[in-house]
Symmetry: C2
Subunit: 354 residues, 2 copies
DNA sequence: TTGAAAGCGCTAACAG
DNA sequence: CTGTTAGCGCTTTCAA
């Protein structure tokens, strides 16, 4: 840039202005500057140097628990991403996806990210990447989890939402239920879950849902300690199926499988079919999220507006500074009763005969 | 950082080393530095300043033609994104999604992006954002389109791939065909496409496919000038249906609809059903891409490895500098004959009786 | 093992 | 409308 200014016989300010403040320059001079720039192969102001000077990176960072690439396999995550991208687009800022695998504790990528703020999507409360984000002096908005005091957050009222679902099942007559849930901590436990582990789960959303289920079924006289809960580290349809297999293998008397996500529920449905169980006649299956495929299959689930979730988080972050008090946005959820929930076999027989 | 160094009575270099070169420091001193940093609320080296100094941003930019958010609605685009994210993750660099709507000619976001290179995915050859990317002194890899001399590119051999498809249809006996294609330029033309527009399309992939179809059907004695081609700006299932409606409304004698993407083909199938046309008995429909839903429905299509496409582009970019000559990676495609293609009605009658 | 000096490339005041 | 001055916060020789 210096050499450009020299060549033109003007100051560097003028060159800078030619790019950033067209109104501070005669159009003629500006034209000359730009043309000379092209001739000399000057590519325009360096974005990094500009960011350093203006203290604006023009991008927001996104941190998520899963492998970056995995986010593109989960329809709910894609919805969140889309909403967030929408908000960024409206504001003309970039979306910087931070590479952060759950295994690798390499936090450097968080430190290296040149961003004006972070959106953190569904990470455990003890995630080192999260700690690294919070250490940075930029605003942060959390989607779903964890809950951090003093931080903006966007998410559904998980307890209320799943309570409605539980009441639906209780109303149908289910008392012998089983639960399939997503990972409860950073350590892998593809197995049944102790009460202790449920209580101390580092994924707040899962913990809350389990607690709310325990309360709701407790009111119906079910001792939660007797309810089998199976956890899966990977969040895929196949793992959902394997979890269902594990649970039903040990507790064949279960009449309803409550899954904390639609993905897991899809797997449970597949496993039910494999075992020759009719849904909902022999087994009730429920999900959570309301992804498109679940709706297509008529899964009973709790629908949440994932796109809106991402967009709200983006807006909140980009408006940061305008508000002082931390904001919490609670999204509306809706219990969608599909064709995968019905009274348990025994009740059905009780009502309608065998 | 200066104040930290002062407080500690050491130089700034030492503080810097504490973060970046642990081996250049006594562990004891390093511990002291880091602890004092915490106490004073020093958040660690500023990433932007560091980038300025090291000339490394630790991120790659992604430019795509569609609205950022739209990329999350197209399964093929999601696949590319996933592959690219995978490559970035492996290298520990961020993925910076550049906001660039097709309408808005606001190129500033490209200038502002602090990245070490760009991946450009499927943009028209006259896209101003592309020009802005090329003006920047960083390596660039193109996925699919456009073809730019001297630039790395990853994509399928579109001509060869669609020629196989055309030969399949010719072999079945189709001579009266219609084409549904994606946008051919930055201007909106939701209508039939003249030969001139086909020839001068700014989206190289679409142009190539049309040309290859013209050649293949020409060999079979079909005058391409008589073949109706309908274009759609938006790439959605609904638009595919509307395009099919427009084409079949004007050319009901058509026996096969060739769609340049699975998304459009899905719409064509919907429209066929709406009209009471049986597929493939009354109408043959083909796609391109091989997305999951298409496979599920048994669509005859050309499958391409979208994830691999994204990953290859990422690797190529991140290895840039190691090679001098521009590299072109051609991906394998596979014609997948499903249940949506069959001999045309008249031929079928000819062979099997009415 | 540590420190001093020298910028990376740019823009925001402010003065002319 | 244009130029001067002063850093933004950091890392990297090189010398001690």
């Amino acid at each position: 840039m210096a050499s450009l200014a020299a060549e033109l016989g003007v100051s560097r300010t003028t060159v800078s202005n030619a790019y950033n403040r067209p109104d501070q320059l005669s159009p003629e001079l500006r034209r000359r500057v730009l043309e000379t720039a092209r001739r000399l192969g000057y590519p325009g102001p360096d974005p990094v140097a500009r960011s350093l000077r203006t203290r604006k990176a023009g991008a927001v960072g996104l941190l998520l628990t899963e492998n970056l690439s995995y986010a593109f396999r989960d329809p709910a995550a894609i919805g969140v991403l889309e909403g967030l991208a929408l908000a960024c687009e409206d504001a003309g800022v970039g979306l910087h996806l931070v590479p952060a695998s759950p295994g690798r504790d390499d936090v450097a990528a968080v430190h290296r990210a040149g961003v004006d703020g972070f959106v953190v999507y569904s990470v455990p409360d003890d995630d080192p990447h999260l700690a690294a984000v919070l250490a940075r002096p930029v605003p942060t908005v959390i989607i779903d989890q964890p809950q951090v005091d003093g931080l903006d957050r966007v998410g559904p009222d998980d307890a209320a939402a799943i309570t409605k679902l539980a009441e639906h099942l209780v109303g149908l007559g289910h008392r012998q239920v089983g639960v399939l849930c997503m990972r409860l901590g950073r350590d892998r436990n593809d197995d049944f879950v102790s009460l202790e582990r449920q209580r101390t789960a580092h994924f707040h959303v899962q913990r809350t849902r389990l607690e709310a289920l325990a309360t709701a079924f407790g009111k119906a006289g079910v001792d939660w300690a007797t309810v089998p809960v199976v956890e899966r580290f990977e969040h895929t349809v196949d793992e959902g199926a394997s979890a269902a297999r594990q649970l039903l293998g040990a507790y064949p008397q279960v009449t309803a499988l409550i899954c904390t996500s639609d993905i897991l529920a899809l797997g449970a449905l597949a496993e039910a079919e494999r075992r020759g169980l009719r849904v909902p006649a022999d087994l009730t299956v429920t999900g959570f999220d309301g992804i498109a495929e679940a709706e297509r299959l008529g899964l009973t689930t709790v629908h949440q507006p994932v796109l809106e979730k991402g967009r709200a988080a983006g807006k909140l972050l980009l408006a940061a500074g305008e508000h002082v008090n931390p904001k919490v946005i609670t999204l509306e959820t809706e219990l969608r009763i599909g064709t995968t929930s019905a009274p348990p076999r025994t009740m059905e027989e009780h009502w309608f005969g065998p």
